[in-house]
Amino acid sequence: MSEPLLEVRGLKTWFDTAGGPIRAVEGVDLSIARGETFALLGESGCGKSMTALSIMRLLPAAGRVVAGEVRLGARNLLALPEMAMRGVRGRQLAMIFQEPQSSLNPVLSVGTQIAETLRRRGKGSHERRVLDLLDAVGIPDPPRRAREYPHQLSGGMKQRVMIAIALAGEPELLIADEPTTALDVTIQAQVLALLRDLQRRTGMALLLITHDLGVVAEMADRVAVMYAGHVVEQAPATAFFAQPAHPYSRKLFASLPNLGKRATRLAVIRGSVPSLAHEFKACRFEARCDYAWSACRETLPRWLEHEPGRRVRCHLYDPAQAGESLTDRDFVGDTGKPMAGTEPIPVRGSLLQVDNLKVHFPIHAGLFKRVVGHVRAVDGVSLAIPPGRTLALVGESGCGKTTVGKGILQLLRPSAGSVQYAGEELTRLGGRALRRRRKELQIIFQDPYSSMNPRMMIGDILEEGMIAQRIGRTRAARLERVAALLAQVGLDADVMRRYPHEFSGGQRQRICIARALAVDPKLIICDEPTSALDVSVQAQILNLLQELQQRLGLSYLFITHNLAVVEYLAHEVAVMYLGRVVEQGTVEEVLHAPRHPYTRALLSAVPTVDPQSKREIIRLAGDLPSPANPPAGCHFHPRCPQAMPQCREGYPGATHFSTTHSARCYLYGDGAYAQDAENGAYAATEKTERHVIRSR
């Protein structure tokens, strides 16, 4: 490696709090070469963002760098006066952030915000350059967009504008802090491709900060894994993905859900991240590590270069510490253990049957707010969930999947269609009858915190639903049940007397699950229950849901955008696009033999950690259209790589490929083939092959 571009040595960043300093970053060493992509990987709270902000010297007020050096070329950035540091920011170092929404100034036009960076390089008009930059980041119609304000752009566009701002200074290093975490997968694929492309053209280096192993696999040349304030492993990406070295890195991989792990327990990292309020004298992963032994509790592991270019901080690799050599040890741990009783429950009829469900929201306009149109959030969705099975409803933001969940529960009254639960039509129920039915249909949300009253104790939160549904005659009986529920979700009974804010995200989600279980439901609608959680915590929740299904025979409607979770957990899948289901079938059918062009694009856009699967990414152009004004004909046609003239004319009917698998796309005829399922499927396969060949 030539002279590094940026070198971080022994960086320590502390946060001052009333209870003493929090050691957010405790001795981070990194070096980034010119033009390379360096990924800093870690779960929330590990200090990865604080490392980036320390490099930029943009720490929030309570944070301060206590020790260390950040060398950019010959200069130590931490020793520069603020004036000189300003010259470095935006020129040599640029940064983009996770939330493009809030990271742009809402009252300044896009053009102004880009020109600001340019103006520092010289006076005069920068209009030409602003337009060039907008063009370079793939924003259509730059002259119009430059005059617009951030709220007029979609999330993906905003992140492109952020990238344009960063590029304006022609930086040598771009720090991207979770740049695609807030974006949908197809948009994430666009932004990652853009970053890679720009990097190739400009030769800038990229420091990519992320929690997503898939993104790292897609982008990085080298990887550093952070845990509890310091780096525990550094390696070239290929070597890292072939075989991660540190026990923590291995656990991260093991806790990723995928098809191969179906019906087995995902690995979990026991316990939780240690408090960073005190100094560590020993390995900070010790309490959670499966391999820990006496040495781990006594001394801090040092950096060891066990292979050229691969460094790890773990006693296992230290000849001076390890009693037995690494290879003698079994790395499997408790992962991959089959779940108890994994035989599939026989399917008998369906518990929930949704037919042609429509939820339309009126648009008001004019002097008297007359209804001038409708947002067709859900426009004719049909689903069926048998008892004891999981149906995953997949789609990107704004496709209407959450609205389907609310429509089923009658939290939003459907505009049309039927929702039958155990043979009873829910759309016609009202008042008391509906309330009685509600106890069998429960919902858990993405953000467990905001769905709990912060001033109620956990015990009361769980009891509340039981009282409403008249479960348990006496207080004592109910409390006994609360304790049993908590045990069922893996919490101690003494949490009853504590408040929601005392728990971590994963624990709160457990509490929400216990609350749903309190009224003995048959069906739980899980609305993105793990999207806000770290992978290792997500694994715990998925294990729990899987286990509860086995034990209690629950049905799940699993609403998510995460296809790996679907692969792991679901039996059937329905893919939604702009208010309609475009393809449905069993997991094997939809995820492994997708027919609809949207499903294919969605699947190909998900970054994967498997180095073998160098699949072709089908890149979709443009953003999701608004459901208020969906494109005529097949809603997907403006973005579809295989669109035909016919697609503009009407919405395609469903074509069946098997008794379970169907898609709505003209490539497979127009629903006319539906009766002749075998034939349709055959003809369709041929047709697709031709199209795929042509589109390459």
Binding site: M56, L58, P60, A61, R86, G87, V88, R89, G90, R91, A94, M95, F97, E99, S102, S103, L104, N105, P106, V107, L108, S109, E116, T117, R120, Y149, H151, M162, I165, G169, H364, A365, G366, L367, F368, K369
Partner: protein, 325 residues
Amino acid sequence: MIAYIIRRTLYAVPILIGVNLLTFFLFFVVNSPDDMARMHLGMKRVTPAAVEQWKHAHGYDQPLLWNAAAGGAAKLTDTIFYAKSVRLFMFDFGRSDEGRDIGYDIRQRMWPSLAIAIPTLLIGLLVNITFAMLIAFFRGTAFDLAAVVLCVMMMSVSTLFYIIGGQFLIGKIFDLVPISGYLPGIEAWKFLILPVAVGIVSGIGMGTRWYRTIFLEELGKDYIRTARAKGLSERLVLFRHALRNALVPILTGIVAVLPLLFMGSLLLESFFGIPGLGSYTIDAINSQDFAIVRAMVFLGSALYIIGLLLTDISYTVVDPRVRLR
């Protein structure tokens, strides 16, 4: 936008009718015309005939809401409610119980009120924003803490203290300007300068502290971090980014009270003897002239509604995210 304004104006009608009814009931049901007549005639010569005569002279001898004796539309119009309250909707304020033309009085007296209120508002705004930005620039330091403590102290002191203190210090000890009184025309500035200064100083504590909070909130936002990451100077970050956004709540807050400036300041005007609408209201209350009080309450609520409408419109001007439909 036009549709929005029209719709909001239509919404205002029921609100104003409600306000009107409410004041009507407060004044006429709680305090019947007979009581009013007795109060005006004084305690000595109250004979039923004198009461009837006073009521007739001032138009209070009609039924309150419904005149069963009259015919046709007059059933509604020959009532006290119609005669005294409904006409307010045409901004026809009628005559006071002393017989003066209220509309004329208001037109005369609003100028001194505005002459105090407008400079107080504008200079006060400038002073408060400057202080608030200065404090925000030194956020987290001892200066910040001291400034906040000072603001709270200034807020806690009554406006009366500033008035009396100002009159005593500037007017009496240094004898720079007259303590109170008013002259129309160019000479007026002598009488205005002290109340304006007192108005500004008494508002500093509250205003500065509020604006400081707004600035600190904006400075904590993500887009400020982006601006810093661009390498912009602290001056640009504060003025172009933070100030532009902080002005959204500040300006719209100001616009809401703008129309109410007409109403004048009750305290300042009566203490400094300024013949504005504030002192007009106070005097009317003292002399129990309900016609004036009713007119001022109605005017106040109408102006308040206009203020709310202006607030919404001003949002569309300063905040590109807001569109009225």
